[in-house]
Symmetry: C2
């Protein structure tokens, strides 16, 4: 393979109760990227559209991932990359993860599938480190594996692909402010109550049991975050208003996507998703801030090949 064009999905990390451990991929939101083999052993980013990102391959998440993989594989070729961002960095929807995971996936195809999915997650985490100053795996794992994923352990890295009940739909609102992952981490306490932690891990258990049994009520009841959301929601204008609007319109649950500001809701049908979308829009219409609303199925298969030769 000399050329590959891919779609790398946006992702929702944390999923309320599962801070730093759960994530899922979004079907109709993401980036397009192309990777072309070149005879000279260098990595170049030749085009970036849709967002302002560095062309310098040591500052760009995708650039860092591609370099490291070519080096480790002792490849005798170089790669030219183009990136077409379908959504905004700093949205909390895994923008750098889509670039990093897409890069790992694309290069691996040009290398003849040398690496496993787990290894691709490890490479993509290098991109996350460059972009967010934090080597997290939840977004990149969701992008690579598709559907819902659990980052069971970092040392050693262990990713569990979870089932994705078919009726689940995502609705999300992205208020057009930017929150840096780094800043969203600073508002979190180092210490938490054991009592609260128990509540949280019981909900993680409930959410995962709900995904396996397609128990939408259990999924909804488990979508609660009493550890991180109380701190981070202060960074997001009108968070409570949006969350309540979503729940009142029938959403199973709602919370902060990744480090925000995007607020996500999970719904049990297209019809409810439509109602939630309308309710969320109404709740934000007059607050004097631009916003985007997304409505989507869950991406079940991860990164998709659009074209290759």
């Amino acid at each position: 393979m000399d050329y590959i064009k891919i779609f790398s999905p946006a992702t929702v990390a944390n999923v309320s109760c599962g801070f730093d451990t759960l994530g899922f991929a979004i079907a109709n939101l993401g980036d397009e990227m192309t990777f072309v083999k070149t005879p000279t052993k260098r990595v170049d980013i030749t085009e970036i559209t849709g967002a302002e990102l560095p062309y310098d391959i040591n500052s760009n998440a995708a650039g860092v991932v591609v370099q490291k993989m070519l080096k480790d594989a002792k490849a005798d070729f170089g790669i030219q990359i183009t990136m077409h961002k379908g959504f905004f960095p700093g949205s909390g929807l895994g923008s750098s993860a889509a670039s990093s995971a897409g890069a790992a996936f694309g290069v691996n195809k040009l290398l003849g599938n040398k690496f496993s999915d787990l290894e691709l997650v490890k490479y993509a985490m290098l991109g996350e480190e460059v972009a967010c100053n934090s080597k997290v795996a939840d977004n990149v794992a969701a992008a690579i594996y598709g559907g819902f994923v659990l980052v069971r352990s970092y040392n050693p890295l262990d990713i569990v692909k979870l089932p994705t009940p078919k009726k689940l739909r995502l609705v999300a609102i992205h208020p057009q402010i930017q929150i840096r992952t780094e800043d969203a981490r600073k508002v979190l306490p180092d210490q938490i109550n054991l009592k609260d932690a128990i509540t949280q891990w019981a909900n993680v258990g409930g959410l995962i049991a709900g995904l396996y049994t397609k128990d939408y009520k259990l999924i909804g009841n488990s979508l609660e975050d009493i550890i991180v959301e109380p701190h981070r929601k202060k960074l997001i204008p009108h968070f409570n208003k949006v969350k309540n609007a979503a729940l009142n319109a029938g959403a199973l649950g709602a919370g902060i996507s990744g480090s925000g500001p995007t607020i996500f809701a999970l719904c049990e049908s297209d019809e409810i998703a439509e109602n939630v979308s309308v309710a969320i829009e109404k709740s934000y219409r007059n607050v004097g801030m631009d916003f985007e609303i997304y409505s989507s199925k869950i991406n079940r298969k991860g990164i998709k090949i659009l074209h290759s030769y």
Copy 2:
């Protein structure tokens, strides 16, 4: 029904990572109890064998449960109870839970199945409160539902029955000291590191995913407790020695059963369970303390009716 004789199983609560939220029932260890309808509206405990427990119905866990249920059901009869303890109070194997859950189950049969399983858990929790000064549900829920259970929420109470992979076997050692649940709670900190909590809830997620997918390796990797075990193991003589012996002999994982001192191990086959049993026994043989070793399948169906008319 005028008479019922039941078997109420011993249970392992917490299951390493799932402090206060996970539990499972043991197949071949538990209490036998009988309940007989009497025309006079009083509750009497007429016989207790196998352990020293109060006959006073306001101090005995089973007595408290039976009284409350008869009162709520406006029953026009009384009940005579006998209790034959098959294992020791203070072992960490849910002794009071077996009595409390058994009482709730037995009375419910004499009441014509008036209450749901969830309601039985609530009644049984009253017995736990009397016996342990703590209204926990993990042991009683495991005894009533059988197999593995998740206490997803206390308010409102929400119990999720989890699957029990068929090959799983339990081995446990009960060093003959007694630890009161109350004392075991006192050694725990009120506050924990957020970082540790994340590790713990990722393992809860992994354990539950492993139970659904019969992934024994994932179950084993997830049987880790970095929050409670480091504190409580100090109360249990030679804990590390036993745990290491179990793991070296092939156990999937090992930890403290409930509030201890019993140490449990989960294994993937009868053969491994036998090896683990031998290794644990060897590790404790010369420490100068009496002990009991148990080896069992997982109880999958909860409390069992032995006889009724």
